[in-house]
Symmetry: C2
Subunit: 191 residues, 2 copies
C-alpha cells in the first residue's frame, strides 16, 4: 500500500503527464469542517502552462458542493491496490455517509488547497477552480488550475511512469465494476 | 491489422464506454474536398444521453479549421498495431503534407458526418460540433454530440472491451513517443 510519505513533489510543468494516459481519478474537496471524496472517470488535462485540468462532476455530488464553496479540489490517481475503495467511493454519497470513515480511504493534508490528498494514490494534483459558470451549469464540467502536484517516485520519476509493481498500476474504468490496469510500456520513434 | 469491414455499429447509449478508459484518439475532419487527421491525448466523455465528448484541439491545427468549417469530426481509437502512424500524425501538420498519403493512415467513409473514420482503429465516434465559442477560443476545447458509433467486435462486444490480441489493445500516451498498451482486466464487486 502506498502512503503519504511516498509522495514527492512534481514540477508543475510535468503535472499534466500524471493524467495524460487516462486513469480514473478520485476528486476530493473540503469546506467548513467537512470533506468528501468521489470517483470520476471523466477527467483530462486542459493545458500545459499553467497546467489545467477538466473534470465532470454531477450536480447532485456533495464533493461538488464543497468544491464550489471552497474554490478548490484535488484529483488523486489511485493505485490498483485500492480499486475496491475507488468503486465504493463512486457508488455512495457523502450526503448520507462519511465516505472517509466508511470507505477506508484516508485523507491527508494538501500543501496549497483545503481539499485533501488521498492515501493509496500514486499521484495527486492540487487544483484551484477556474470559474466557468456556463460549463458548470450546462455540462457539469469544471476546470482547475494545478497549483501543486505529487507523485509516488516508485512509479513516476524524471517525468515518466514506470510500473514494476502490479499493485501500483493506474486503473482505467469501463463500467459496472470493470477496470483495466495500465499495461506494458512501448516506445515509438518518430520518423 | 484491423479494417473497415470489422467495424460494426455500437448503440449510442454505449458510445461513451468506448472512450471511458482514457485511450489516445485520432481526430479527423473534412470540408470542401480536403480532409485531415491529427492525434489528441486530451479527450473524454462529457455526457451519456445524448452521448457527448470533449476534446482539446490546438488553434494552429488544420483538422480544427476543417472541423469548424464543417461542424463535424470523428474520434477514432487506434489499436496498438498503428501506434507508429498515430505518433506521426501527432507530429506533422496537414498544412504542409497530405497526412493520409504520408502517414499510411487510411480514411474510410463515415455514416452521418463528412469527417472520415480511420482504418486500423478499434472504435470510431462520429460527432457533430456543439458550438461553444468561448471554450473553443479560450481553452481550445471542443464539445461534440456523438451521432454514430462503431467498434471492432473482436475487442468490444456487449458493451465491454476484451483484448485478447495484443496488437488490438488501445494505447495510452504519456510523452515523447512513450505509450502504454491497456493492460489486464479486473473486476471489483461493489459492497
Amino acid at each position: 500500500m502506498t502512503s503519504k510519505s511516498k509522495l514527492t513533489p512534481v514540477e508543475l510543468k510535468l503535472a499534466t503527464s500524471l493524467l495524460n494516459h487516462g486513469p480514473i481519478v478520485l476528486v476530493s474537496s473540503a469546506h467548513g469542517g467537512k470533506q468528501n471524496v468521489m470517483t470520476a472517470a471523466w477527467a483530462m488535462p486542459l493545458d500545459f502552462v499553467p497546467p489545467k485540468v477538466a473534470v465532470v462532476i454531477g450536480r447532485e455530488s456533495f464533493t461538488r458542493e464543497l468544491m464550489e464553496a471552497s474554490g478548490a479540489f484535488v484529483l488523486s490517481i489511485p493505485a490498483k491496490a485500492i480499486a475496491d475503495k475507488v468503486l465504493w467511493a463512486g457508488s455512495h454519497s457523502g450526503r448520507e455517509v462519511d465516505k472517509f470513515s466508511e470507505s477506508g480511504l484516508v485523507a491527508l493534508p494538501a500543501s496549497k488547497v483545503s481539499a485533501p490528498l488521498i492515501d493509496g494514490c500514486v499521484a495527486c494534483l492540487e487544483c484551484k477552480v477556474i470559474a466557468e459558470p456556463h460549463n458548470q451549469q450546462q455540462y457539469d464540467l469544471f476546470f482547475g488550475e494545478v497549483v501543486a502536484a505529487w507523485a509516488d517516485p516508485r512509479v513516476f520519476s524524471d517525468g515518466q511512469w514506470q510500473f514494476n509493481d502490479d499493485s501500483l498500476r493506474t486503473i482505467h474504468y469501463t463500467s459496472q465494476g470493470n477496470f483495466f490496469a495500465i499495461g506494458e510500456p512501448f516506445r515509438v520513434d518518430d520518423k
